[in-house]
């Protein structure tokens, strides 16, 4: 296992793919902080006005943006990196020299996770380096920020488990790339839809004309789009379960139960790893 890991890390170090992905993350981190600063400047600096105060530039508004795109980057990176194991027949060579399929699977999962972690570390460091002088330090409490960081790392592990599952059980590199990328796009759309349904207000207030011709707020009426009862529970569960749903919550720093999110991410990671390793054990590697 250690030999497999060291071989994987050596290959990782020599591939342009990881350096390219890291470069993208570092660039995006710096751009996010700069963009936040520029936005506040364009809105105006008079923060005493309540309408403007909501646009106050805050480091935490951009610091967790990585959660939104790291799934896409990991999908591309893991499927290409692990797909090469099939196309170059490295997988068979590893088995031929006596490594078990389980240890190969675990080593590949750890390598993909480590590379993705490196990418988010690159984003965080560049966002901090550019953002702290321009925007100041975080304004939210440290426990919340630490929870978000720990939770997003577990979310990343769930993403990596899913992509490793696909890449290790699909012998065609191009097919696994397409499945992973289109899959993550589809899951993102699903998460946005779930979020939209869950955020629907309970009551809708329209406008109506009063007797003397003034426009006044109408009596609030129940919103048919508002989810209630078991249906709301199911939507909330799916939103918390999907790694893309979690990524939206961490990006917006809008989550109520971090322990539940972390537990679900760990469960997704465990289920996909167990299923992926079991499938690989039976797979005909030709």
């Amino acid at each position: 296992m250690i030999k497999l890991l060291s071989a994987n890390f050596l290959r990782l170090r020599k591939t342009n793919l990881i350096w390219g992905s890291l470069g993208i993350c570092v660039g995006l981190g710096a751009l996010a902080a700069l963009g936040e600063f520029r936005f506040q400047v364009s809105v105006g600096a008079d923060l005493s006005v309540p309408e403007v105060a909501q646009y106050k530039a805050l480091l935490e508004k951009q610091f967790f943006e990585y959660a939104a795109f790291i799934g896409i980057l990991a999908a591309e990176f893991i499927s290409l990196f692990l797909g090469t194991e099939y196309s170059d027949a490295t997988l068979r060579n590893k088995i031929a020299v006596g490594h078990s399929r389980l240890s190969i699977y675990a080593a590949n999962l750890i390598t993909g996770f480590a590379a993705s972690l490196m990418c988010i570390a690159g984003y965080m460091l560049s966002c901090l380096a550019v953002g702290t002088p321009l925007l100041g330090w975080f304004s939210k409490p440290a426990p919340l920020l630490l929870c978000a960081i720990a939770g997003s790392v577990l979310m990343l592990a769930a993403f990596c488990a899913i992509f490793t599952f696909v890449a290790m059980n699909c012998a065609k590199k191009s097919t696994s790339v397409v499945i992973c990328l289109l899959g993550v796009f589809a899951l993102l759309l699903a998460a946005v839809y779930l979020n939209g349904r869950l955020e629907a207000p309970e009551f809708i207030t329209g406008y109506e004309l009063s007797g003397n011709g003034e426009i006044v707020d109408a009596v609030p009426e129940p919103n048919p789009n508002y989810l209630t009862g078991a249906k709301r529970e199911v939507y909330q569960f799916l939103y918390d379960l999907l790694p893309t749903g979690q990524s939206l919550q961490y990006t917006m720093l809008n989550f109520t139960d971090p322990a539940r999110l972390m537990g679900l991410a760990a469960a997704v990671c465990a289920v996909f790893t167990a299923a992926g390793a079991a499938l690989l054990r039976r797979k005909d590697l030709k």
């Binding site: 896409i72 591309e76 590199k173 191009s174 397409v178 990328l181 796009f185 048919p224």
Partner: protein, 279 residues
Amino acid sequence: MRNLLSANLLRLRKSRLFWGLLLLLFGLGVLFTLRRLADQVRWSAWGAQGARYYLTVDLFTYALFLGFGMAAFIPLFFGAEYSDGAIRNKLIAGHSRLSIYLSHLITSVVAALCAAGAYVLPVLAVGFFIYEPPALEAGTLALLVLGTLVLLAAYCALYTLVTMNCSRKSTAAVICLLGMLALYIVSGNVEIPLMHPEYLNWVVTEAGEMIPGDPNPRYVGGMERVVLETLQDLLPTGQSLQYMRADVAHPARLPLYALIDVAAFTAIGAALFRKKDLK
């Protein structure tokens, strides 16, 4: 050229990937229509006003789906020409590189049109009972339909450019899919400043006339607006966003710009392919 086309179309007909794409688009068409039906049932308590959807709300959504769908389909389908050595065989059999390139482009456009048809079919069939007829003039509607079809050709031309000049199928797929996403992000960001209204409010005079109130400091006007609008109309993803909302400021201009896209992508792609070392 005709031989190449008939060979490509035969391969298309036998491809599970192609039938999978059609099935996916058909399923999405059914899903969207059923979602509107569920919305109507939910909103029925609000009377007819809450339950009205114009057909154009969902009709052109294929312009978005096929942007992604073709980004996956074209590299997978035509990338196999490289990996299986079919391109070299075609050259050995005496076909020119240009005719090979064009036959691939035409085949991909045919596949995209079939997929669009698979989406539109359930939307029109089931939606006939659900949607209100489009609140547009027939001429404008025809321009929108024509525009989305040329837009599909523009997407196909872009992905054919990448696929025919990238000998690795997986790399071509990544470039097409992530490129598509990047273009969407660009178009989304170009659209934001264009959405700001010119005035913050409107004032009613004593004579009952509406006159513009305070100017909006975030409104983009002049040359900058012209440049942003042109960019939005020229980018296939910018066009997709406009068609999806069926809110198109220049319905006659978009098909023209999409044709320019097709011509430009094809000229660049064919020129690069002519010089490519096929090993």
